[in-house]
């Protein structure tokens, strides 16, 4: 386990800010203690400093996971955000998309969101803006990238894609193995 380098930190924060903007500060300085990011086996883990101290006792090859995994760095050093980060992104999300009950299942299977499944969308969403997807009961389902601006979404025909799927909670069952 090692701390992130400057470059890695920059790449990751850039990705995060797409979804939560400047609220990244809130992730680090929390009222119940300081939290930090650490890298282990190409994965980024988010944990409080108390856990960090204890986790150093465990040898590298025996350590499987610490705190919450946010995502991983690919071989070409790009950062990929995992669904496991949803709990931290959802409260600070700047742009949200609500999905109708009928299209919920489809999104949970990994499909993109079509105009026909779109319930609500926050105003002034830019194109290719990172969004968090909710169900109509305000349960976070995953996140994605907006394919159209809010204005365009109103005009476009029902079969076109409005949100590109990036991660959804169905992955906990579908790809359990790749979480670690």
């Amino acid at each position: 386990m090692r701390p992130l380098t400057e470059e890695e930190t920059k790449t990751m924060f850039e990705k995060l800010s797409k979804y939560i903007g400047e609220n990244i500060k809130l992730l680090v300085d929390r009222p119940d203690g300081t939290y930090c990011f650490r890298l282990h086996n190409d994965r980024v883990y988010y944990m409080s400093e108390k856990i960090l101290k204890l986790a150093t006792n465990i040898s590298r090859d025996k350590l499987i996971s610490v705190g919450t995994c946010f995502g991983k760095f690919t071989k070409t050093k790009k950062f990929r955000l995992h669904i496991t980060a949803l709990d931290f992104l959802a409260p600070y999300a700047k742009f949200k998309v609500w999905v109708k009950p009928g299209a919920e299942q489809s999104f949970l299977y990994g499909n993109h969101v079509l105009k026909s499944g779109l319930g609500r969308i926050t105003e002034n969403t830019m194109q290719y803006q990172g969004v968090v997807v909710y169900s109509m009961a305000d349960v976070p389902l995953g996140f994605g990238v907006a394919a159209k601006t809010t204005q365009e979404c109103r005009r476009v025909d029902p079969m076109s894609i409005v949100v590109f799927h990036q991660a959804d909670v169905g992955e906990f069952i579908r790809s359990e193995d790749t979480l670690t």
């Binding site: 856990i51 006792n57 465990i58 350590l63 610490v66 349960v139 909670v169």
Partner: protein, 611 residues
């Protein structure tokens, strides 16, 4: 042809066009619809034939002999019936006539009579017997009821026939029963026993002899009769003095019962032996039956993300039939049936609940971790208990979730992330090495790997695959693990110092023996688990005796508590000192040493220990 031709009505004949022309509906239809209501008009020859027929039938009727008297008295005077006597040889022949029901044939019979007289007696024994009986009866009847119509007489004959046959068959049955009594299987006789009409006088449950046992080995016995035999065997064993067969030992009954149970429920005899030692006979069948069916599906609400009330509402809206688990749990729900797969609802994916067996709630409830503590879960896969600990601690403190199997750790990680647990470190050590890695935990939970005899309902392969060596191996591993777990606990912890040891097995070797071993080897004592239901653990079992505090541990069975078989014991460590091997021999020495150590190493906290 000539006279019938009508010149006024010319009908076209021949192959020409005019012949084929239709002549109007009435004439055409007349060809098809013939009037059949009127009598058929016969030709001359037909009339002659009919006359001949009538003549013939008249002749036949004339031939029939006149019954009765031919003078004027025929209207009221009927001829008397012939009377027969028993002793005369002619009676046979006469009696043969009894069988013939029609009086009209009596004349023919007279001819037969003469023939038979010449032949002599020829009827079989039975016939004689019946006939004699019938003769006597008939004589009386004849005297009384001469005026019977022929059909009534025939009916009477039938009746007598039947009675005679019944008498015969009764005699035959009696003979058969005597012969077959020894060959009959016990099951049939047992049915008399269980029908409580003649429990003492009726036929008793008998053990099959050597020959029959051999036969059973060759021919497949049907399960129904085995089941019946099991029930009756148990019945006899329960009231042994009254229902036993004289000369037969109790062990014979028991060995037969064991063999039958193994066949019926498909267990190997080692396991069956163990169960017969553990349970009284009345509970044994209940236990075995409970192992055949699954326990109900239960879920645990994740209080980090939702409340039980809200979750229940959301699931009911999806079409799930559920109920709270019981008074003892505030987070459990039992699922009766569901139209959607319970492991794939959006609520499950959002981490609002976890599929977990009811018995797995118990060790965490016994552990009762407090907020801000340092907790170790030594065998955490698939992560149900770890996440329950985390939700009880409200994501504070630190949990170390360890498991020796790297593949199963993936499910631990998955569940931790899904349920929103943030205070956990997941590691892949062999539990026995743990004290060297890290120590000083406030609480430790050890759900030791076991033989799985309590969860046979989930995994029927256990029935046949476990034997003496498996149990011994498990017990050895568990003893090592429990010592390592004890060494990881910090006895001086301000809030804790507890270890909960649990298994999903019901054998004494893996449960009470292991805890007793720990009591002897380390400075720990048993404390109440905090679970108010469940059977108490054994303080002695067959030839072994355990520490009396073992009754604070709890056992759970599928047939009495409707959850998987489980064993939970809560231990408190009162000193961090590890006693040396020499001092660890014998209970008495241990007790003395414990008290001296308390005096010497007074590094104990200010809590008072109740002994």
């Amino acid at each position: 042809m000539g006279r019938k031709l009508d010149p006024t009505n010319k009908v076209k004949r021949g192959p020409g066009k005019k012949a084929r022309k239709q002549q109007g509906a009435e004439t055409e239809l007349a060809k098809f619809l013939t009037d059949e209501t009127g009598p058929k008009r016969l030709s001359s020859r037909g009339r002659k034939r009919a006359a001949k027929r009538i003549q013939k039938s008249a002749e036949v009727t004339e031939k029939q002999p006149k019954k009765g008297f031919t003078d004027e008295n025929s209207k009221w005077l009927k001829p008397a019936k012939r009377k027969r006597k028993v002793d005369e040889p002619e009676n046979e022949d006469d009696s043969n006539e009894h069988w013939e029901e029609e009086d009209e044939e009596e004349e023919e019979e007279q001819e037969l009579l003469q023939k038979k007289k010449d032949q002599g007696k020829k009827s079989g024994k039975l016939a004689e017997k019946e006939v004699e009986e019938e003769d006597e009866e008939e004589e009386e009847d004849d005297d009384d009821e001469e005026m019977l119509l022929p059909i009534e007489r025939a009916a009477k004959k039938d009746k007598k026939l039947k009675e005679a046959l019944d008498l015969e068959s009764d005699e035959d049955d009696d003979e058969e029963e005597d012969d077959e009594e020894e060959q009959k299987s016990d099951a049939e006789m047992d049915e008399d026993d269980t029908i409580q009409t003649n429990t003492d006088e009726g036929e008793r449950f008998r053990l099959p002899g050597a020959e029959e046992s051999e036969m059973e080995g060759v021919t497949p016995l049907d399960l129904k009769s085995i089941h019946q035999r099991i029930k009756d065997n148990i019945d006899v064993l329960c009231n042994f003095s009254t229902k036993r067969e004289p000369g037969k030992d109790r062990t014979e009954y028991i060995s037969l019962l064991k063999k039958d149970l193994c066949t019926y429920y498909s267990y190997n005899s080692f396991l069956m032996e163990k169960f017969m030692d553990l349970f009284p006979l009345s509970e044994l069948v209940d236990f075995l039956e409970a192992n055949e069916i699954h326990r109900p599906v239960t879920i645990r609400t994740n209080t980090l993300k939702t409340r039980r009330r809200d979750l229940a509402q959301a699931l009911i809206n999806r079409g799930v039939n559920l109920d709270p688990l019981g008074k003892w749990s505030k987070v459990g729900l039992v699922i009766y049936d569901s139209s959607v797969p319970i492991g794939a609802t959006p609520e499950y994916l959002a981490g609002q609940y976890m599929l977990q067996g009811a018995s797995s709630f118990l060790p965490v409830m016994a552990l009762s971790p407090q907020e801000g503590e340092l907790v170790l879960d030594m065998s955490s896969a698939p992560g149900g208990k770890t996440t329950y600990i985390a939700q009880l601690m409200r994501n504070t403190g630190v949990i170390v979730a360890n498991d020796a199997n790297a593949d199963r750790l993936k499910s631990v990680v998955g569940n931790i992330h899904r349920l929103g647990v943030t205070n956990t470190v997941v590691s892949n050590y062999d539990g026995r090495q743990f004290p060297k890695v890290m120590g000083g935990f406030d609480r430790v939970l050890l759900d030791a790997p076991c033989s799985g005899t309590g969860v046979i309902a989930k995994d029927p392969a256990v029935k046949t695959s476990k034997d003496e060596a498996d149990i011994r191996r498990s017990a050895h591993l568990q003893k090592e693990l429990i010592l390592a777990a004890i060494d990881s606990v910090n006895a001086e912890s301000s809030t804790g110092g507890y270890l909960v040891y649990c298994t999903c097995s019901i054998t004494v070797e893996e449960n009470e023996c292991v805890v007793d071993y720990a009591l002897k080897k380390r400075n720990v004592k048993l404390v109440p688990t905090g679970l108010d239901f469940g059977t108490e653990g054994f303080t002695r079992f067959r030839e072994r005796k355990f520490h009396p505090s073992l009754k604070l541990s709890r056992r759970f069975y599928p047939h009495s508590h409707n959850m998987d078989g489980f064993f939970v014991a809560k231990l408190k460590k009162f000193s961090n000192v590890i006693p040396t091997a020499a001092a660890g021999k014998g209970n008495r020495k241990n007790k003395n040493r414990k008290s001296t150590e308390r005096e010497q190493y007074s590094a104990t906290p200010s809590q008072s220990y109740d002994f």
